[in-house]
Amino acid sequence: MKYTIIFFILLTALGLNRLQAQIAVIAHQDVASDSITSAQLRDIYTGDMTFWPDGTPIIVCDLNDEQGVHDKFYDFIAVNSSRVKSVWMKRMLSGKSDPPLIFKTGDDLLQRIAELQGAIGFVDEKNIAGRVKVLMIIKTATE
């Protein structure tokens, strides 16, 4: 009986874990913010916020992965990712700013953010190592 209960608890925990994935919004260790709001994230990823509070330029990093983290992130900030591409192309072609740095894997994005002052990005929370600052954890439901 005891083992049956343990078995069902483990099964439930596994199921709950599958129901909730977490995306970590991360930044370079020296970034002058310890947290961020969804509105600020939206502004950063649409080019409307380009400096941290201390005047350091924000370097935007985007994850174009196949695990769905990209889509979940843009759902969270309520911005259509096609529209975001158009916004950044307009900024680039009018000289206002460079487009986001794009990475195929969370490990590559993580490594770059650890190196680049002012960089911000997002990864699956499971990928985080201690070299970056976590500004927000986004809980998303998996399908």
């Binding site: 409307d48 307009k90 072609l93 740095l101």
Partner: protein, 408 residues
């Protein structure tokens, strides 16, 4: 031996590892785009109520391929707050050998921007005016092949007044955005040369302003979620000379003002965009010349104003396909010698151009867009001869266009 091999492997890997799709922030970036197009023109119909006086301007059908635009950009972040930007533009299959098209130095500026609220640009730049002015030549951003009339720079050889409606260049601009909760307030102020630029190099080096007047202008805008609206103003003084054989019209430092209003809104998969521009030119600054000498006895009953408006409704039919309908129209008044006895009487000629259009843009991938567009161009002119006789001219022509826009 094995450890040394592993160490070499690590060193080589670390040295050579690059991450996909990125450059270092302070690299020189070179990028650009081009748009290649095919246009099929119908015959141009021509009608007038005075065929014995007004010569027919009927034109046969024609078609052409062309490189409508090729733009090359250089950009570099000099430091955290300084950025340099250069834009070269080639239009209409440019060839210096065959005298086709044009090559322009479109933008060359340096920007200092310490915050989102304030930035300043100095150099040759495209000023902020309404919604489309800054991006009118950015073909990857527009579903159009043929742009709303006053932004269609290829027409300025045929319609001299196109450049009166929008400012094409400025030299110093300050701009920024203030935020209050979800609302963003955009501002831009700029100054630059007057429109009186030496072309011949006779009285001043070519490219120099021949007056000591300036262009001043600006835009205030508001953005809230997917809504964007703004109001734009410019002011400058224009010298103009119109040759009407016996009589010439000279405008000396005529005040010219533009008022622009823009609006755009995205609702789900539907995008709406519209603009209005009122052009105001002070006709009191006209001097009528006969054989080079001023004429004193002149009756003036004309306006030298104009207006432009356009609207577009676009549907994001799928993630890759956009469909749109659009209408743009312009009205311009310019002086015309209607009679010479007993006094020189100046009346309006009123010109109206209207262009309804439908089109589609298919985004094959992030870099390539295929476009199709059909438009009908209607031109009407109304004037008077001998003070009383109305003269009307109508011309219309339709154009079917296909184009590919490539960003690299």
């Amino acid at each position: 031996m094995r450890n040394r091999f592993h160490l070499c492997l690590i060193i080589i890997t670390v040295t050579c590892t690059t991450v996909l799709g990125q450059t270092k922030p302070d690299d020189l970036n070179i990028f650009g785009y081009f748009q290649v197009s095919f246009m099929q023109f119908s015959e141009q119909d021509f009608k007038t109520n005075f065929p014995e006086v007004i010569e027919s301007e009927w034109l046969p059908p024609q078609n052409t391929f062309s490189i409508q635009h090729l733009n090359l950009f250089l950009s570099k972040n000099i430091s955290d707050h300084w950025r340099a930007f250069i834009n070269f533009e080639f239009t209409n299959s440019f060839s210096s050998y065959k005298n086709w098209g044009a090559f322009n130095l479109e933008e060359v500026w340096i920007r200092y921007k310490p915050s989102d609220e304030f930035g300043t640009q100095a150099g040759l730049l495209i000023p902020t005016f309404n919604n489309l002015n800054e991006i009118k030549n950015r073909t990857p951003l527009l579903p159009y092949i043929f742009r709303p009339f006053v932004y269609e720079t290829s027409l300025k050889d045929f319609f001299f007044f196109i450049e009166d409606f929008v400012p094409s260049r400025a030299w110093l601009q300050v701009s920024g955005t203030f935020k209050h909760r979800d609302i963003k307030f955009d501002y831009a102020f700029y100054t630059g040369n007057s429109p009186n630029i030496s072309e011949s190099g006779v009285y001043a080096p070519s490219g120099y302003d021949t007056t000591n007047t300036f262009l001043f202008g600006g835009r205030f805008g508001l953005r809230w979620l997917d809504l964007k609206a703004g109001i734009s103003l410019t002011s400058d003084k224009k010298n103009s000379f119109m040759d009407y054989n016996t009589y010439d019209f000279k405008f000396n430092r005529m005040p010219r003002h533009r008022l622009g209003v823009d609006f755009s809104l995205q609702v789900g998969t539907v995008y709406i965009e519209s603009e209005f521009i009122q052009l105001m030119q002070d006709e009191d600054y006209l001097t009528v010349l006969r054989d080079g000498e001023p004429v004193n006895d002149v009756t003036r009953e004309f306006s030298f104003d104009g207006k432009f408006y356009y609207g577009m409704l676009l549907l994001n039919a799928t993630k890759e396909l956009d469909l749109y309908i659009s209408y743009s129209a312009a009205e311009i008044y310019f002086p015309w010698v209607a009679a010479v006895n007993p006094t020189v009487t100046i009346y309006d000629t009123r010109g109206k151009l209207s262009i309804p259009t439908v089109g589609a843009a298919w985004h094959i991938n992030d870099s390539v867009i295929l476009k199709a567009q059909y438009l009908k161009m209607d031109i009407e002119e109304h004037t008077r001869l001998y003070s009383a006789v109305p003269v009307e001219v109508e011309q219309d022509r339709s154009i079917l266009m296909l184009a590919g826009s490539v960003f690299f």
